[in-house]
Symmetry: C2
Subunit: 237 residues, 2 copies
Amino acid sequence: MSKGSSERKVAQVKRGGGVSHVYETLRNEIIDLKLAPGSPIDETELSERFSMSRTPIREALVRLSAEGLITALTNRTTVVSNIDFVQLGAFFDALTLMYRVTARLAAQHYDESDLAVIREHQASFSNAVHAGDVLGMIATNRDFHLAIASAGRNKYYTDLFRRLLDDGRRILRLYYHSYDDNLPRQYVAEHDHMISAMIARDVETSDRLATEHADQIVRQIRSYISADSRSTSSITF
Amino acid sequence: MSKGSSERKVAQVKRGGGVSHVYETLRNEIIDLKLAPGSPIDETELSERFSMSRTPIREALVRLSAEGLITALTNRTTVVSNIDFVQLGAFFDALTLMYRVTARLAAQHYDESDLAVIREHQASFSNAVHAGDVLGMIATNRDFHLAIASAGRNKYYTDLFRRLLDDGRRILRLYYHSYDDNLPRQYVAEHDHMISAMIARDVETSDRLATEHADQIVRQIRSYISADSRSTSSITF
DNA sequence: CATTCTCATCTTGTCGACAAATAAAATTCA
DNA sequence: TGAATTTTATTTGTCGACAAGATGAGAATG
């Protein structure tokens, strides 16, 4: 713009690769609450930040909008979607059901490669817990459960579960300062039990353990919300 | 382009309204199989057809891609997604579960306005059945069940259910020529029973009826597929 | 005659610019 | 002073054009 012709494009990785980069970057920032709910998103600003035209930026935003992570008001500025506390009950309901269903299906359909991936994520989660890395816990926990869902071989459940876990990440991120110290260790053990039941191809036990795990997490989040004074101030508009 | 300056834009409805028009038009054409699975989608061609630039066309395509209705290969032409017969078991599984869950929740949470909408769609379905309008049946049946899902007040379930019902529309559309004559009438009766159970707020009966209804539909589709010789030739990709 | 390389053409991905719509600021009028 | 209205400015939606990558035809070579 100002420097002239010599500066082409620094990190023009691939033709079409910039879009997914913007998409994933923004997606992570939204889920990790680096972009606060309700904060406006300026296309021109992003265009400068990623040093690319508004067109690919726009495409990434459309994708995020389709996922419900941002809300696009026509002709007005688009904003980061709010965390919908009104639908919290629906969230817990669906989350619990997906925990159960994916655990059942994983016990039925998993193969050795699935198991390897699951164990890997469980190890990462365990590491994050012992290191006291709360953000790592939240992320690796999500990956662990998503790996179980993948082993279940049902894309419909996997897709919904991913959406739920990501919404959950945002909520947990909001309350992570009060993240308890002993609960994560318990989660590690519960994960191990779930893996054992899956290996035994024991559908009913897998279901039961998943239910308990889900109930535990729901209870945890509920207690955070009721204990935290911010819960009311976060309910915007 | 050639005529000069006098022709501006004929149906420039609203600024930003063209995108959703393209989106919905293409969406319906894909679901109704007017656009065959695997058929290529040319942006320039659509640009001429809707008499607008490629930019809004592209935005609609990104949305459809996010929904999984079209598959975009980078730098290559995008195609209408295939009906995934490999995942058919997963489809039936998720469909049945959503029938059950939404019926349960509707019995718990519906209000009078929901009931009115549901009855309206049921009437439309009934009309389509008596008129022998197969395409109308498929569409109104979808709307009926989606209305029940809405009454359940859980956006996660509603969104997944919509996706499932639309995938189901494509499959039914593929086999509609063998659509049986007496089954639809039975469906009308089953729908009425489901409404009655909902009004009685009887969760367990709603669940049971939904399960039976789902099993019936799954059985129907399965019989079509096994009876139809096209089932193998349609497995493209 | 088959195979590989080259080149032309076509489609997509990206860009800069302009127009419409909205939000903000300034001005006028009661 | 305050409310209504005009003006300005910012931001989004759309456009036409160009460049990168891909597809396919035809030439060249073995």
